[in-house]
Subunit: 138 residues, 2 copies
């Protein structure tokens, strides 16, 4: 457990940086960076908006590759709603405001997302282990 | 960290029981039981299907009271997709198949949900600290 407020703030900053690495990989349409942003785990879980849940790294990384193959532009504007760090686990809820070009058609949409991270035992590196995204109809 | 597989199984079982307590409270339309299922925290987060995120126990518990006030029947059939326990944090992804009567109209719908739990330091009691539900259109 954290001993003081300073450490909590540092942890929250590190988790936001891990969250940003995920969106940088997403925006770059880069499957290798996306794989690096995630924990390699049979317990990893991913819900793309409107999809059924995917469990385990192979299915999840294949899904990103498929999305990237069909997308020519993806730009994110993030709004943080809630960031929680508890020991070596953390989760972020945020609104993704997205401009995208899929199959040569441009569109804007918004998603509500909860991203879950674990801290790797060898350092201060946080990796995504859960991603639940849903259409933001509000 | 857990030292053996037996402890991991016991933790997963305890988390599923905490998850079930949430759905028992929901099905009973019981605001007191719902409050007991949740961690009392400024960091608690709740996304009802199609709603904007709510942060902090007062807003969240008020939302349940409002839902219960307008609902006369709520029956859940749960399908577990993924359960992860990491030290004193855990998360469950499941499909809620719901039969409900709201404002005197019966309907069936399905939601995809990620529920996040923390283990209270005084015992083996797990409490919900995050609930992200989205319409399951698959």
């Amino acid at each position: 457990m954290e001993s003081n407020q300073e450490n909590v703030e540092a942890d929250i900053q590190a988790v936001k940086e891990a969250n940003q690495r995920f969106y940088d990989a997403f925006g770059a349409l880069d499957a290798r960076l996306m794989e690096e942003a995630w924990e390699d785990s049979t317990e990893a879980m991913c819900v793309h908006p409107g999809w059924q849940p995917l469990v385990g790294s192979p299915l999840i990384q294949a899904s990103w590759q498929g999305i990237f193959n069909n997308t020519t532009l993806m730009h994110f504007n993030l709004q943080y709603i809630n960031v929680v760090v508890k020991s070596d686990c953390a989760w972020v809820t945020c609104v993704e405001n997205i401009t995208t070009v899929v199959d040569a058609r441009a569109s804007n949409f918004s998603a509500l997302v909860t991203n879950i991270f674990v801290r790797e035992s060898l350092g201060q590196v946080w990796k995504m282990i859960g991603h639940h995204a849903s259409p933001n109809v509000g």
